[in-house]
């Protein structure tokens, strides 16, 4: 292992421990790590956007003859109008374009990708030849989807039959959240294991080389 590699490991270990130190309380090491991290990420993203968007997705294709890209380029350039207070309103054109297209694209993609497939997947036969277990699962699925949809119905107070159905929906939602919680915690623990493993193997490993 070269001296540079050892230095890199020590720098990474220092910042890892500095970030972990926040678990105790806010302190100068955490502040240093926080500011270095924020500054580095800002610089990194400038480089990333320049290379992967301005050059690769705009400049090179335009040079190759894709002149239609001049329109998104113009929308992007309009954002710089914000630097001049008198004409800063011009940048709203780009913002409106992004927000409008997002809403429109999202509407169609949700219908095609979520609503129609989920409606179809819920239309399950409640009498199955595969046995009582499968029928029960189908029943749970149908009741779960309908009661959850009713929970998100805002036009009436949740009282009476509507209230009972909404309450059943909340139970389904909470069970789903419980499953998500367990799954996500496991993923976070694996991130922690990765960091602890780095400190234990890579960083402590360098002690044997140095001392």
């Amino acid at each position: 292992m070269s001296g540079i590699e050892i230095l890199q490991i020590w720098v990474a270990a220092f910042f890892t421990l500095a970030i972990f130190s926040f678990l105790y309380k806010d302190n100068p090491f955490f502040k240093l790590a926080e500011h270095v991290f924020a500054g580095l990420s800002a610089g990194y993203y400038v480089g990333l956007v320049w290379k992967s968007i301005i050059l690769q997705q705009l400049w090179y294709p335009m040079m190759a003859g894709e002149w239609l890209l001049v329109f998104p380029a113009m929308l992007g350039a309009l954002m710089f109008a914000r630097l001049v207070p008198k004409i800063s309103w011009v940048s709203r054109v780009s913002l409106a374009f992004v927000m409008g297209t997002t809403a429109g694209v999202f509407l169609v993609s949700q219908l095609n990708g979520m609503i129609l497939p989920q409606m179809q997947a819920t239309m399950l036969p409640l009498v199955l030849s595969e046995g009582a277990g499968a029928t029960l699962m189908a029943l749970v699925m149908v009741i779960g989807v309908i009661s959850t949809l009713i929970y998100f119905y805002f036009s009436k107070e949740h009282t009476g039959a509507l209230g009972v159905t909404a309450k059943v929906g909340v139970w389904f939602i909470m069970i789903a959240f419980g499953a998500h919680f367990g799954y996500t915690v496991m993923a976070r623990v694996s991130l922690l294991i990765g960091r602890v493993n780095f400190l234990y193997e890579d960083w402590l490993g360098t002690f044997l080389l140095i001392f």
């Binding site: 806010d26 924020a38 580095l40 780009s94 095609n112 179809q120 239309m123 149908v142 998100f152 009436k156």
Partner: protein, 292 residues
């Protein structure tokens, strides 16, 4: 722009009738490649029906028809949280998620920010909005400035209320955590897309003693917000929030229209389940097929 010639329109109408009757559309192959995706006709019909419903409700809302919305507890708490911040003389921290403006949740978050900014302007409470993307920065500055202007408090508005802090997800989380423990906001409001940093932010805010209201449509992050925040807006409640808070006819009508669509979906599902159970639901089931 493509225009549908008369002949093709007649073919379209003929195929539509065939499709409703449960048969394969005639001349499908020839038309799919050139003008129209016949396998997506059902999606178009539903889209038109849904759009008409929403537009009708918006029209009624604009005409002043009283449209009822039930109380959503998390939203009632927004004003209370800002009031608490005012009493304590501490700022309100609002985070419109960590994603770009091309996420519908971010747009919902920015929309709620406009309403929150109106309340902070009214009470003259300091507002801090750290953001992760330049477009969200621009949109956030626009809505906050608009809110302060509408409340006649333009002098109290500062561009620095909405500020870019970091592009990298965890650098953003570290910076916001730093803000939470140093500036000690009395209220933290998280509205938009959140990912792995959700618990980092909510737990730090909780430890700092802030009242916290969160809203996201990400099911994998909602459990963390429910655990660490005082109030949580789940899924569509986030989208309903801006309509509920503003009571603007456009948003209110949209929300009411979506409610009717939910009822239509429930009816479709119930009818589908009955028909499929009776063994005669193939045609009805096929209406919701999207093809390839």
């Amino acid at each position: 722009m493509h225009r549908l010639p008369l002949k093709l329109s007649l073919v379209a109408a003929y195929n539509l009738v065939l499709l409703i009757l449960g048969s394969e559309p005639a001349l499908a192959q020839t038309t799919v490649d050139s003008v129209f995706r016949w396998d997506r006709l059902n999606a178009m019909i539903l889209l038109v029906v849904f759009s008409v419903v929403i537009l009708l409700y918006i029209k009624w809302a604009k005409e002043g028809k009283p449209l009822f919305l039930r109380k959503i507890p998390g939203l009632e708490a927004v004003e209370e949280a800002v009031g608490r911040a005012t009493e304590m003389g501490r700022p309100v921290l609002f985070i419109p998620g960590i994603q770009e403006l091309d996420e519908i949740e971010t747009i919902a978050g920015v929309s709620i920010l406009g309403r929150v900014a109106k309340i902070t302007a009214q009470y003259e409470t300091p507002l801090m909005v750290p953001v992760r993307y330049p477009l969200v920065l621009a949109a956030g500055q626009e809505v906050v400035e608009q809110a302060y202007t509408e409340m006649g408090k333009h002098d109290a508005y500062s561009k620095d209320m909405v500020r870019y802090v970091a592009g990298e997800q965890f650098a953003f989380a570290a910076t916001v955590n730093g803000i939470m423990v140093r500036e000690r906001p009395a209220a933290n409001i998280f509205m938009g897309v959140f990912a792995a940093e959700s618990l980092l932010l909510a737990e730090t805010g909780n430890a700092a003693g802030s009242i916290q209201i969160a809203g996201t449509a990400r099911p994998e992050q909602l459990p963390f917000f429910i655990a660490a925040c005082d109030y949580t807006l789940m899924g569509e409640e986030l989208y309903a929030a801006s309509a509920y808070l503003s009571h603007e006819p456009l948003m209110l009508g949209g929300l009411k229209g979506q409610d009717l669509i939910k009822i239509l979906i429930v009816i479709f599902i119930v009818v589908g389940v009955i028909l499929v159970t009776l063994g005669i639901g193939d045609t009805f089931y096929g209406w919701f097929d999207l093809g390839n």
